[in-house]
Structure formats: structure tokens, C-alpha cells
Amino acid sequence: MAFAAFATTTAQADPAPRRRSRVALLLLLPGILYLVLFFLTPLVSLLITSFQAPAEFGDIGQYTYAFNWQNYVDVVTDYWPHIVRSFAFALAATVLALLFSYPLAYFIGVTARRWPLLQSLMLVLVIAPFFISFLLRTLAWKQLLSDESFVVTSLKAVSLLAPDAHLTGTPIAVIFGLTYNFIPFMTLPLYTTLERLDLRYLEAASDLYAHPFDVFRKVTIPLSMPGIVAGTLLTFIPAAGDYVNASRDFLGGPDSQMIGNVIEANFLVLLNYPAAAALSIILMSVILVIVGIYVKRAGTEELL
């Protein structure tokens, strides 16, 4: 009996009979068609746009169809620091969010199991930021981290911050904002795996002479890998493409602009659509490559 209960929580039985795939087709059709129409085709038109060239006698923002490879070369030459910076910021935010979230998720998912009410209450608080607009939260931080704020003056008072230094408009603030905003995306998947973590494995490890630290390193971490992978991806991907935190109207400054800001500026201000499209394609490709390698190496390919 115990065994049966155990089996159902880990691997699930093989899917039911694979019957007539006509039903499958009917089930898939609307959604897939939808995605083709509103995801795939835009992506293709973005690809086409990325090769356009300025119209010969055109005004600002006017382009014609061409096969202009140069766009890619240009944007990389102009904006490679932003590309690097975006991934660096996203990486930093991901790592920070992971470090922040893991103990919290562990507490909610494992320690608090005995108190379901506390558990769900804490969970609510973790997802609470979702209910207050992402932008409002960020603006709140902008004020809370402004030069004359309690935070900055205190940091200066204890010499953790140089007297002429500041937080808003710097990479630190942007990374901070990214971290803060994506913490729920990190905590939730971690929580889901940790909540299902079978404590018997931990007991078995400590029975086999593993020091609590070894138990954590050798058993808890590997077993929560699916959550770690899901959480890091759900943080890293949107963070790399984010432009709100780094926006100069939010937490960013000129030296902390990310690729999202560049794409936005090219799309909306400079009206350089090919450049924006080329950057989008580059961003997406790099992310896909990173995700591919990461997921392969982490050995959790069952993302979807």
C-alpha cells in the first residue's frame, strides 16, 4: 500500500490507450492554429523585417524589403555591450533570486508541511506581489531607493555606500529590480518540487551517514533540480528581455540599459524597425541556445 502510494506520486502510469488521433487533431487544432497565427507568423514577419533596408528616398522610419545581412552586423557592433549586459543582469538576477528563494521555498514546502494553513498563507504572500502591478512595485522601489531615501542614507551612514554614490539609475538597482520582480517566478516552481520532495530520501541519506550538509548537497538539491531548472528559466528568460526595470523612467540609467530598451528605442523612437527586429531575433536565438544547453546539462528536458 505504501508502495502504491509512493508510485503514484513519482512516475505516473503510461498515458491511457493512444486512440484515434482524429480526436487529438480536434483537440490540438484551435490552439495550435492560434499559435501559428499569432506567434509563428509574427516571428516570421519579424525575421523578414530584420533584413529590410531603408527606402531609397524615404523619410525616417521607411523601409523596403531586401536581404540586408548588414543589419545584424550593425546591431551587434552597436549594441553588443547591451546584449552582454542583458545576459549578465539576467544571470545575476537569476542567481540572486535562486539564493533568495530556495530557503524560503524549502521552508514553505518542507518545514511548513505540518501546518497547511501557515503553508498556504505564506504561499499567498509569495504570490502577493503579482496582485500589485509589476510597474507600481518597481516605482515603489524607485522611491524607496532614491538618493534621499532611508535606505540610501542609512547605507551611506554605515559606509556601505560611498557618499557620492547612489542606487537608482545604476546597474545595481536594475539587477535588484529584476531580482525582486521575478522572485515569485523562482519561488513557485521551487515550492512545487520541494513540496513533493519525499522526505524519506532525506532520512535514508542521514541513515547512511550523510551529514545534514551532505544530505542537502547530495540529495535535496539533485531532487529539486526540476524546480531549480523551471524557476531559473522562468526568471532568466523574461529578465533577459525585460525593459521596464532598466527603463530610465524606472530603475535604470544610461549605463544600465538592456537589450529590451534598445529594441524598444529602435522600434518606438528611432523607428529603425530592421535593427529592432534583428536584435529581437538575436535575443531569442541566444536565449534558445542557452536554454537548450542548460536543460540538456541539467538533465531535465521535460519542460513541456
Binding site: S45, I48, T49, Q52, A55, G58, D59, I60, G61, Q62, Y63, T64, Y65, D78, Y79, P81, H82, Q143, S146, D147, E148, S149, D164, A165, H166, T168, G169, R248, D249, G253, P254, D255, S256, Q257, N261, V262, A265, F267, L268, V269, L270, L271, N272, Y273, A277
Partner: protein, 358 residues
């Protein structure tokens, strides 16, 4: 991904049946009372029965344009029947056919437009645009922290202000002020080398962290929370901020000159309420109304006769150099010359690349 798309055509007018106007404008650009309502607008509604939804939707010409351009290109409604944008941007909109021709017959008060603004290169004969307010870009500073004040842009680059200086994302104002500081006549003939020199200076100040941030009208928030202590700003805003926050800031047009500009009413191509807008323009061209707005916003009114009307309200007002500049003040103010499409693209990109920190 617009090719040389065909110019859109204007929407059918429903003004006679639909007595509303949606007006997009900059922050700090209209009179407001303590309850948060707009006295002149309320009077307008009382007079004409037309209700006005006034939105401070414009923070920066470029971002505003970015937001509405696709709709404009399709000739669709952009969510506003009238918007007030700066000369050069109005020029672009007119070039692209994104604005509706104004029926001067519906705006008899247009005769009150000051003569110097009656004919502008981007809109000869004012067939598409009518000035709303004008102003200077100059320097503002936090008087509590920096009691000495500023007379030149170079003073902003003082190391003691590192990271506490703000500049505008409006290229023509920020670059204009720097070029003027470098001795360039921005209304005259200048080219890549002059612009390049100014860009280099600007780039240096951004790169070394002197400039804290580069913003549109949102710069005022930074001044208020004191992230910036001195900034390149728009004239009238400071007076309004002072009114709200207790005379905290000083303002000056630099000795070597500031920029002078106008923001203009335009009716976007997709708006079906041009006639209502024409009534609105006509209303604001009443000298008394213009004076009332000017008295509040402290920008230069383009309405002749407003000064006299202001006299009637408060004689001191008529001497306010921000509203009714005299020749000596105007001598320091310069209009940034009109750029052609190629220049606009190039200089815009140069400037933007600094905003992006590239």
C-alpha cells in the same frame, strides 16, 4: 515595417453629434485648481457643451510618436482628438500626412496668433497646426542644496555634482544647450562637426557618471525626490513645481543661450472630432483665457492680447519674463533649426545611442 505607405485619409467628423474631445498633452501644461480640475476647461465645457478628457499622455515627443504611429499610419484613432507636440514633431506628422487640415473659418480667434508664429517652415500658413504654448529650456537647481545657482551648462559638469545632474531626452533641448554653450548658433548653419563636438561632450558627461539620467517630462519626479539637484529643464515647469513644493528651485536661461520652442495643437488623422477641437483652439485663443492659462503654467503664450489681459489680472504677471519675455530675454533664446529627414535620423540615432549608454 512600413514601406512608403499611402497617406491615410481623415476620419468622418462626428463633432455635431458627439460633444467630446480627448486631449493629450504634456504634464504641467494647463491650469489646475486644488480639487484637481481644470478651470479653463470647465469654462469651455460650460460655454460649448463639449466635454474634454484631458490626459497628460505626452512625456517625450519620440515616445509619444512611437505609441501612436502605427494607428496614424493606418488612419485609425489614436485615442486622442487633439495632441500638443513640439514643432519638429509636428513637422514630421504633417510630412507623413498624419494630421488633419484645420478650418480657419472655425477658429476666428486665430487672428490673435502672434505674427512671428503665423508662418513656420514646417507648416506654412498654419493649415495643420496652431501653437499652444512656447517656452525655454534652461537650467534648474535645488536652491537648498545649491544656493549659488547656475549661469552656464558647463557648471553642470562640476565634479561635485557627479550623478546628480539630469538632462532632457528631448534632443533639441539638451544638445541645443550644449551646442550653445560651445558657441554654436543653433538656428544658423551648422553641421556634423558642430553636432559631433557637442555629442562628444554629452557622451563624456554621461559616460563618467556626471549625468544621472536622461528623461522626458518625468525629470520633475527626480527633482522632487532629489535624485537630481540640477537639471536641464523646461521653464514653466519649475514655477509650477515651486508652487507645489515651496519655492525649492531656481531657474535660469544660461548666459550663452537657451532653446526656444513651441508646442502645437494638431488633430490626428484618425480623429472624428476636428470641429470640436477647432472650437477648443478658438476658445484658448481668447486673450483672457490664454492669460489665465499662462498665469498658471508660466509658459510663453502665443496669443496676442494676452499680455494686456494679464495686466488686468495682475500687473506683475505681465512682467514675468517666462511668460512675456522681453527682447533681452529673447536674445538669449534660440530656435533649433529644422532638420531634414536624413539629419533627423542620424542625429536622433547619435543622441539615442547615448541614452542607451552605447
Amino acid at each position: 515595417s512600413t514601406g512608403g505607405a499611402a497617406k491615410p485619409s481623415a476620419a468622418a467628423d462626428v463633432s455635431d453629434s458627439d460633444k467630446t474631445i480627448r486631449w493629450d498633452n504634456w504634464a504641467l501644461y494647463i491650469d489646475v485648481d486644488d480639487a484637481g480640475s481644470y478651470p479653463t476647461l470647465e469654462a469651455f465645457t460650460a460655454e460649448t457643451g463639449i466635454k474634454v478628457a484631458y490626459t497628460e499622455a505626452v512625456d517625450d515627443n519620440n515616445t509619444y510618436y512611437g505609441k501612436v504611429k502605427d494607428q496614424l499610419a493606418l488612419g485609425k484613432d489614436i485615442g486622442a482628438d487633439v495632441a500638443c507636440l513640439t514643432d519638429w514633431m509636428v513637422g514630421r506628422l504633417i510630412r507623413f500626412g498624419y494630421t488633419q487640415g484645420l478650418d480657419h473659418a472655425n477658429i476666428p480667434n486665430l487672428s490673435n496668433l502672434v505674427p512671428s508664429l503665423k508662418d513656420v517652415d514646417f507648416d506654412p500658413g498654419r493649415s495643420m497646426s496652431v501653437p499652444w504654448q512656447g517656452g525655454f529650456a534652461g537650467i534648474a537647481w535645488n536652491k537648498e542644496k545649491l544656493p549659488n545657482g547656475f549661469t552656464s551648462v558647463s557648471e553642470l559638469w562640476d565634479p561635485s555634482l557627479k550623478g546628480r545632474v539630469g538632462v532632457l531626452s528631448e534632443m533639441r533641448d539638451t544638445m541645443g544647450l550644449i551646442m550653445l554653450d560651445q558657441g554654436v548658433d543653433i538656428s544658423g548653419k551648422w553641421g556634423d562637426s558642430e553636432f559631433g563636438a557637442a555629442i562628444d561632450e554629452f557622451k563624456k558627461q554621461v559616460a563618467n557618471g556626471q549625468v544621472r539620467n536622461i528623461k522626458g517630462n518625468a525629470y520633475k519626479e527626480d527633482l522632487v525626490n532629489e535624485d537630481t539637484l540640477a537639471a536641464i529643464v523646461w521653464s514653466g515647469d519649475i514655477v509650477q513645481l515651486n508652487a507645489e513644493n515651496g519655492d525649492k528651485w531656481g531657474f535660469a536661461v544660461p548666459e550663452k543661450g537657451g532653446t526656444l520652442w513651441n508646442d502645437n495643437f494638431i488633430v490626428p488623422i484618425g480623429s472624428p472630432r476636428k470641429k470640436n477641437v477647432e472650437k477648443l483652439i478658438n476658445y484658448y485663443y481668447e486673450p483672457e483665457v490664454a492669460a489665465e492659462v499662462a498665469a498658471y503654467v508660466n509658459y510663453i503664450t502665443p496669443v496676442a492680447g494676452a499680455k494686456e489681459a494679464a495686466m488686468a489680472i495682475d500687473p506683475e504677471l505681465a512682467n514675468n519674463q517666462l511668460i512675456f519675455p522681453d527682447d533681452s530675454t529673447l536674445a538669449k533664446a534660440h530656435v533649433f533649426r529644422t532638420l531634414d529627414g536624413t539629419e533627423e535620423q542620424k542625429y536622433g540615432a547619435d543622441f539615442q545611442s547615448i541614452l542607451l549608454g552605447a
